[in-house]
C-alpha cells in the first residue's frame, strides 16, 4: 500500500478518544492529540492545498509552524480563520476546515492553468506586463488578486473575547525542548520566578519526536517531572503560547491560544490571551528549522522534511509513506530512515550529498549496514501529481537513476530560529560548514540556548540550557542523556542542486511560489540587494516569513554574486514572525472598552436632558441640548443666542484645577504663568497663559488667590493632564527648593458656569447671602448647605460666573442654578454654543489656536507677558526668529458673501496658490449673522481688510473671506463688567 497510513500503535495521541472533523466537506476521524495534518495524513489525504501563484498541488511539508504549504481555513462566521497551518491546528470534535485558494475544488482547480503558463509569469512579471495609468492598474490589481492569494478574509465580526495580561518574571524561557526545560529548571533551582512558554500543546520539543533517556529516565517522565518541579516552585507554564515579538527592555509578547482556530471557547469566552511579559532575563530556546533542498518538483505532495516524517511517525503514529527516498546533507535524516524502516517502510535510497570518504558516525554506520546509502548523491527530480509521488530520479555515482518511492524525506541542514534574538537587537555569526546563522552579540538581557544557539547533540543542548539560564548553575548538575541519544548533526551544507535538475520547478519559497530560477532571474535583472530581491520575487514574505526559505534564497543569491552568504546581508526580522490574529492585539479595547469614557460628575443629570454628546479626549460632554426637532446647528444657535441675550448655564467641571499652597505658592505660579499673578490680592483672579520651555503657549487658564498662601489655578480640560505633568516637573526638577504644595483637584471640584446679561440675577437668586463678585473676583457662599466658591470670569464674553462646589455635592447646585436660569428665560448650553461664543469673542483654545506652534506674540498676547520675565519660556521668547517676518499670526476672518467658512481650511491669496494661513475654528456671528472664523495668517497682524480665499479640498468648500481683528463681539469688553 502506498501513501500515508496510521500505524496500529505508537505515538503520543490518545487512541481512546476519537475525534470527528471535516475537511473540504468530508468527515474524517482522528484521535485526541492529532494535528489536522497528522489526522488527514492518517486518513490517506496527501493533497492539502494549492500554491499561491501557480496553484500547484501541495501536501504537507513540515510538522510545525514552519509549514509553508498546507494552509487551511477553519471555522465559520465569527470564528472563521484563514491561513491556519494544518500542522499547527489540533483537531477537536466539530472542526470545520477547508482548503483555500482553489476553484472549483481542491482536486480540480482551474487556477492550475497558471502552472502551464508559468514560463510567462516568472518573478516580477507584473512589473513588466501591466503598464498604463493608475486606473488601469486598479483593474490589473483586481484581476491579480482574484487569481492569486491565500485564504479569504473573514466577513463577520469576531465572535470571541481576547484578553491582555501583564506578567513579570526573573527568567522567561521561550521553548520547552530539552534546552528550554533545562534552562527553566536551572533558573527555578536558582530561586528565580520563571515563565516557560511553549507554542505546542505539549512540553518537550524535539523530545516528542526523538525520545531519549535523560538523567536515567525516559524523556516523557523527565518532562513530566520537570513540569512538576517548575510548578511547585511557583513557575508559570504556558502551552500553546507563541512568543510573537521581542521589544525594548526585555518586553516579550506571548500569544496564548486557548482555542484552536474555529473552536468555540470555554465558559469564559476567551479565545486567546496576549501576555506582555517583562522579564529580568530571557532565554530563547526556540530550536532550529530543517531546510528543504533544491530539486525539481520539490514541492509535490509526498515531499516532506525529514524531521517532520519522523514526527508524524513517532508523535502521531502516522507513517507518511511506504517506500521512501531520503536526501540529506547531515546525520539527522538517518534517524528518519531507520525509524521508517523500523515502522515497516522500505527505504529506496539514502542520498547523502556529503562525500563518501568522511568519518561516519555510529548512526550512519548503522544505516549503512541495513539500508542503501549513497554518498555524493543528489536528488534530481520528484515525479508525481496531486495524488502523490510516483517516483524520483537521482544522481548516484554520476548516473541518473530512477527510484521508486511514494515519500521523499528531505534534510538540507538546520537553521537556528533566531528571529526573537534579532528582534531584541542581536547580531548573528555565520558557520560555513553547517550553513547556518546562530546568535552572536546580544543587546538586551537575553541569551539563546540549545539548537537555536547552534548546539549540536542532545548532551550539548541540555548543558547549554542549564548553564546559561543561571549564573549559579553548576555544569556538573546539568541534565545528562544516554550516549545513544546524543546524535550530532554533522552537517556539511550543500546548496547546489544536481546539474540535471530544472530550476524552474525547484522551489525555494513554497508559500510564495518562488523558484531558484526566479531568484537567478532577479539577480540577472540587477536585484543584488537581498532586500530588493525579496520585494521583487516575494521571497520570505506573507504569513511564512521565510521560515524554511530565507537561507536557501540567501545562498542562491550569494552564489550568483560569487560572495559568501553573510556578505549578501539579511532581511529585517520584524515581529510577528508567526501570524497573530488582530483580535488578540486589540483584546479588550473594543466596543465599550475601546477607550475609557470619562464621565463628568453630572453625566447622569445631563443624560436626562438627552443632549448630543461630544467626546473631548476621553471625556464625554454635552455638545448641545436640542429641543423638539432641533438639529445640532439649530440647538447651538439657540443656546448661544440665549447666552447673548439672557442667560445660559453650562457644566465646566472638567476644567483642569490645581490647588497651590504654601509661602512660595506665588513664586511658583510666577514660574508657571507668563503673566503677573504673584501680586494678586486675596479674592482676586486673573486670566493667564502658560508657556513651554521653548516659549510656545501650552495652555491658558485663570489664577485665583483664595487665601494669602493659597491659589486655585485652572487650565483647559484637554490640557489638564499635560498641565499636571508640567506642574509636577517644575515642582520637582526646576523648583524643588520652593515651599509649595501642588495638588491636582480637577475632579475634587465641580463647577457650573452661568453666562449672560442675566447671569448676575441667577447668582443673586441662588446665593442670596453672598455679595455677587465683580469681574475677576471671587467669593464663598452656601447653596442649600453646600459650600460654594464663586469666581466671576467670562469665556463667552458676557457677564459670567463659575460656581464651584465639591464634586460629590454639585448636583443640587446645578439643579438650583439651572432652575433659576430657566425661570428667567435662560437655558442650558453645550460645547457647540461655547465654541461659537468663544470664537466670536476671540478667545483661544487648546487644540485650536494653542497648537504647540504659536508663541504669545503670534496669538497677540504680547502685552500680557510679565515684563520682568522669570517665567518658563521667557528665555526662549528672546529668540530672534519670533520677531522675524513671515510668522503665522492669529487673525479673524469674516465671510464676504455670508457663505460658511470651512473649518480647517487653507487660506489662499488666489485659487491654486500656496496657502498663506489656515482656519482654526469657524462659527456664526450670533447676533449679526454671517460666518466668522479664527485662524492663522502669515504676517496676519498687518493684513487686516485683505480679501482672501478659505479653501477646504477635503470638504470641497470655498469661501471668500476678509481679514479682521480676532474679536467679533464687544471689542471694548463692557459686556462682562457691571
Amino acid at each position: 500500500m502506498s501513501g500515508p497510513i496510521r500505524l496500529a500503535d505508537g505515538g503520543l495521541i490518545d487512541r481512546s478518544r476519537a475525534v470527528s472533523f471535516v475537511f473540504d466537506g468530508q468527515t474524517y476521524q482522528g484521535y485526541g492529540g492529532d494535528s489536522l495534518a497528522s489526522a488527514l495524513l492518517a486518513n490517506g489525504v496527501v493533497l492539502f492545498g494549492r500554491s499561491f501563484k501557480y496553484h500547484r498541488p501541495r501536501g504537507v511539508m513540515a510538522a510545525g509552524i514552519e509549514e509553508p504549504s498546507a494552509l487551511v481555513q477553519a471555522g465559520s462566521g465569527g470564528r472563521y480563520e484563514p491561513n491556519s497551518r494544518a500542522t499547527d491546528v489540533f483537531i477537536y470534535d466539530g472542526l470545520q476546515s477547508q482548503s483555500q485558494n482553489r476553484w472549483p475544488s481542491l482536486g480540480f482547480d482551474l487556477g492550475g492553468l497558471n502552472s502551464l503558463i508559468s514560463p510567462f509569469i516568472p518573478a516580477g512579471f507584473y512589473y513588466k506586463t501591466f503598464f498604463g495609468g493608475p486606473k488601469l492598474w486598479l483593474l490589473y490589481e483586481h484581476l491579480i488578486r482574484q487569481m492569486a492569494g491565500l485564504g479569504m478574509p473573514p466577513t463577520k465580526a469576531d465572535a470571541d473575547i481576547y484578553e491582555h495580561r501583564a506578567a513579570f518574571c526573573d527568567v522567561l524561557v521561550v521553548g520547552s525542548g530539552p534546552a528550554g526545560l533545562a534552562a527553566a529548571l536551572s533558573a527555578s533551582a536558582a530561586g528565580s520566578r520563571v515563565i516557560l512558554a511553549e507554542q505546542d500543546e505539549r512540553l518537550g520539543g524535539s523530545l516528542l519526536t526523538d525520545p531519549a533517556t535523560i538523567d536515567g529516565q525516559a524523556s516523557d517522565l523527565w518532562i513530566a517531572k520537570a513540569r512538576e518541579t517548575l510548578m511547585a516552585a511557583g513557575g508559570r507554564i504556558l502551552t500553546r503560547t507563541t512568543a510573537a515579538g521581542y521589544y525594548d527592555h526585555d518586553l516579550v509578547n506571548l500569544v496564548e491560544r486557548l482555542t484552536e482556530p474555529g473552536q468555540t471557547p470555554g465558559a469564559d469566552g476567551l479565545a486567546q490571551r496576549l501576555w506582555r511579559v517583562r522579564a529580568g532575563k530571557v532565554i530563547l530556546a526556540t530550536g532550529a528549522f530543517e531546510r528543504p533542498r533544491l530539486f525539481e518538483g520539490n514541492d509535490l505532495p509526498g515531499v516532506m522534511l525529514s524531521g517532520a516524517v519522523r514526527t508524524y511517525l513517532r508523535r502521531y503514529g502516522v507513517r507518511a509513506g511506504s517506500r521512501a527516498v531520503i536526501t540529506t546533507d547531515n546525520d539527522d535524516a538517518y534517524r528518519t530512515a531507520l525509524a521508517l524502516a523500523e515502522a515497516g517502510a522500505s527505504i529506496a535510497a539514502i542520498l547523502d550529498s556529503r562525500p563518501a570518504d568522511g568519518v561516519h558516525s555510529a548512526l550512519v554506520q548503522k544505516a549503512m549496514a541495513q539500508l542503501p546509502v549513497h554518498f555524493g548523491a543528489k536528488l534530481i527530480a520528484a515525479k508525481g501529481s496531486a495524488k502523490g509521488l510516483k517516483g524520483a530520479s537521482a544522481l548516484i555515482e554520476g548516473k541518473v537513476t530512477a527510484l521508486d518511492c511514494d515519500l521523499i524525506a528531505v534534510s538540507g541542514g538546520f537553521s537556528p530560529v533566531v528571529h526573537l534574538h534579532m528582534q531584541a537587537g542581536g547580531t548573528l555569526a555565520w558557520d560555513e560548514i553547517s550553513g547556518s546563522f546562530s546568535p552572536d552579540q546580544t543587546r538586551q538581557n537575553q541569551t539563546t540556548v540549545g539548537a537555536a544557539a547552534g548546539a549540536d547533540g542532545l548532551s550539548a543542548t541540555l548543558l547549554s540550557g542549564w548553564s546559561k539560564a543561571s549564573a549559579k548553575a553548576k555544569a556538573k548538575a546539568a541534565p545528562t542523556c544516554a550516549s545513544d541519544d546524543d546524535v550530532a548533526l554533522n552537517i556539511i551544507a550543500d546548496w547546489e542542486p544536481a546539474p540535471q535538475a530544472s530550476l524552474k520547478k525547484a522551489f525555494v519559497d513554497y508559500q510564495n511560489d518562488v523558484t531558484a530560477a526566479d531568484l537567478d532571474l532577479a539577480w540577472r535583472e540587477g536585484y543584488r540587494s537581498v532586500e530588493h530581491l525579496k520585494r521583487y520575487t516575494t521571497l520570505g514574505m506573507a504569513t511564512d516569513q521565510g521560515k524554511t526559505s530565507n537561507l536557501v534564497g540567501l545562498a542562491r543569491l550569494a552564489k550568483s554574486e560569487g560572495r559568501p552568504v553573510p556578505s549578501v546581508g539579511l532581511t529585517t526580522f520584524r515581529p510577528p514572525y508567526t501570524p497573530v490574529t488582530l483580535g488578540v492585539l486589540a483584546a479588550e479595547a473594543t466596543g465599550a472598552h475601546l477607550d475609557p469614557r470619562r464621565r463628568p460628575v453630572l453625566y447622569q443629570t445631563h443624560a436626562a436632558e438627552q443632549p448630543i454628546w461630544q467626546p473631548v479626549g476621553y471625556w464625554h460632554r454635552p455638545r448641545a441640548y436640542p429641543m423638539g426637532n432641533e438639529n445640532l446647528h439649530q440647538a447651538a444657535h439657540r443656546e448661544s443666542l440665549t447666552v447673548r441675550t439672557k442667560v445660559g448655564v453650562t457644566d465646566v467641571s472638567t476644567l483642569g484645577k490645581f490647588d497651590l499652597s504654601g509661602p512660595d505658592a506665588a513664586t511658583f505660579l510666577e514660574l508657571i504663568c507668563a503673566t503677573t499673578v504673584g501680586k494678586l490680592a486675596v479674592g482676586r483672579g486673573r486670566y493667564t497663559i502658560m508657556l513651554r520651555e521653548d516659549g510656545m503657549v501650552m495652555d491658558d487658564g485663570t489664577v485665583w488667590r483664595t487665601e494669602e498662601n493659597r491659589f486655585l489655578l485652572t487650565s483647559s480640560t484637554g490640557g489638564a493632564d499635560r498641565m499636571a505633568a508640567h506642574l509636577s516637573y517644575v515642582r520637582k526638577v526646576i523648583a524643588p527648593h520652593l515651599k509649595v504644595a501642588v495638588a491636582n483637584v480637577q475632579e475634587h471640584w465641580a463647577a457650573v458656569a452661568v453666562a449672560g446679561p442675566l447671569a448676575k440675577d441667577v447668582v443673586a437668586a441662588v446665593l442670596p447671602k453672598m455679595a455677587v463678585p465683580r469681574h475677576m473676583s471671587l467669593d464663598v457662599g452656601d447653596l442649600a448647605g453646600v459650600p460654594t466658591l464663586t469666581l466671576a470670569a467670562s469665556y463667552s464674553g458676557e457677564r459670567a460666573f463659575e460656581i464651584y462646589a465639591p464634586s460629590d455635592q454639585i448636583a443640587p447646585v446645578w439643579a438650583a442654578i439651572a432652575k433659576a436660569a430657566r425661570e428667567i428665560g435662560g437655558c442650558l448650553y453645550g460645547l457647540e454654543a461655547l465654541e461659537i461664543l468663544r470664537i466670536e469673542k476671540g478667545h483661544i483654545v487648546v487644540g485650536g489656536e494653542i497648537d504647540g506652534r504659536a508663541s504669545p506674540h503670534d496669538l497677540g498676547l504680547s502685552k500680557m507677558l510679565r515684563p520682568a520675565g522669570g517665567y518658563i519660556g521667557a528665555t526662549a521668547l528672546q529668540r530672534p526668529a519670533f520677531a522675524e517676518p513671515g510668522r503665522l499670526q492669529m487673525v479673524g476672518f469674516e465671510a464676504v458673501d455670508g457663505s460658511a467658512i470651512p473649518e480647517g481650511s487653507m487660506v489662499l491669496t488666489a485659487p491654486k496658490t500656496l496657502p498663506v494661513g489656515h482656519v482654526t475654528a469657524a462659527g456664526l456671528n450670533v447676533i449679526k449673522g454671517g460666518s466668522i472664523a479664527l485662524g492663522f495668517l502669515r504676517d496676519g497682524f498687518s493684513r487686516t481688510g485683505e480679501s482672501l480665499i478659505a479653501w477646504s479640498p477635503t470638504r470641497n468648500q470655498t469661501a471668500e473671506v476678509k481679514v479682521t481683528a480676532p474679536v467679533f463681539y464687544d471689542v471694548a469688553g463692557v459686556q462682562y463688567r457691571d
Binding site: 473575547i161 484578553e163 491582555h164 495580561r165 501583564a166 506578567a167 513579570f168 470555554g266 465558559a267 469564559d268 469566552g269 476567551l270 506582555r276 517583562r278 483584546a587 479588550e588 479595547a589 465599550a592 472598552h593 477607550d595 475609557p596 469614557r597 470619562r598 464621565r599 463628568p600 460628575v601 476621553y618 471625556w619 472638567t654 490647588d659 499652597s661 504654601g662 509661602p663 498662601n709 493659597r710 520637582k732 520652593l738 515651599k739 509649595v740 504644595a741 501642588v742 495638588a743 491636582n744 483637584v745 480637577q746 475632579e747 475634587h748 471640584w749 465641580a750 465639591p806 464634586s807 460629590d808
Partner: protein, 178 residues
C-alpha cells in the same frame, strides 16, 4: 454597588465615600514627620507603603506627599490635625472628590489587576501595606494592598464607572474559567 456573584474568587465594591486629605512636607522633614507621627498615632509610611493609623489609612503618594483616608465624620478634624502638625513645613488639601475608591476582595485580585494592566501585581513583594500607581485599560489608578485578600484601587471618579465595568467583566471571566 457590588458584583457579589463570585465572591469566592474576586468581587468588587465601591465603598461608601470617605474623606481624602493630601498633605505635603516641603521643609523640616524630620521634625514635621515626628509631629505628624505624634498627631496621627504612628510613623508615616515609607516610599510606596501604606499603613493604618488609628481610624485613618495613610498612603504614600509621591516624594514628601501622603494621602489620608478617613471617615467623612472625622475629615474636618483630621484636616485640622494635619494642618496644625505640618505648621510651616507643609500644607494639607482636601481632595475627597478627586479620587474614587474601588475595593477588590478575594484571592483573585492579583490576577485581576494583571488583566489589561502593566503592573506586577503578582509579585510576592507587593504585599499588604504596599501601594503603587499604574495604568489599567488607559485609566490611571493607585493600589493600596489592604490584605492578601483585599486591595483598594483609587481612580479619578470620571474613570471609575468604566474601570469598574472592565474589572467586573474580567472578574466574571476569571470565575467562569475556574
Amino acid at each position: 454597588m457590588t458584583n457579589a456573584a463570585h465572591p469566592d474568587l474576586v468581587s468588587l465594591q465601591t465603598p461608601e465615600p470617605s474623606r481624602l486629605l493630601r498633605f505635603e512636607i516641603w521643609s523640616g522633614h524630620k521634625a514635621a514627620q515626628a509631629r505628624l507621627a505624634k498627631a496621627l498615632g504612628g510613623p508615616l509610611p515609607g516610599i510606596c507603603k501604606s499603613a493604618d493609623l488609628g481610624a485613618a489609612r495613610l498612603i504614600w503618594v509621591e516624594q514628601n506627599t501622603w494621602l489620608v483616608r478617613t471617615s467623612p465624620a472625622d475629615g474636618d478634624e483630621t484636616l485640622a490635625t494635619l494642618t496644625k502638625a505640618l505648621g510651616k513645613d507643609g500644607s494639607a488639601t482636601d481632595m475627597s472628590g478627586a479620587l474614587r475608591r474601588l475595593r477588590i476582595n478575594g484571592p483573585g485580585w492579583r490576577t485581576l489587576l494583571t488583566i489589561g494592566g502593566v503592573f506586577d501585581a503578582e509579585s510576592p513583594t507587593f504585599a499588604p501595606g504596599c501601594m503603587a500607581g499604574t495604568i489599567v485599560a488607559h485609566s490611571p489608578v493607585r493600589y493600596d494592598v489592604i490584605s492578601e485578600d483585599c486591595v483598594d484601587a483609587y481612580t479619578p471618579p470620571s474613570y471609575s464607572p468604566d474601570l469598574f465595568g472592565f474589572w467586573c467583566e474580567a472578574a466574571e471571566r476569571l470565575a467562569k474559567a475556574r
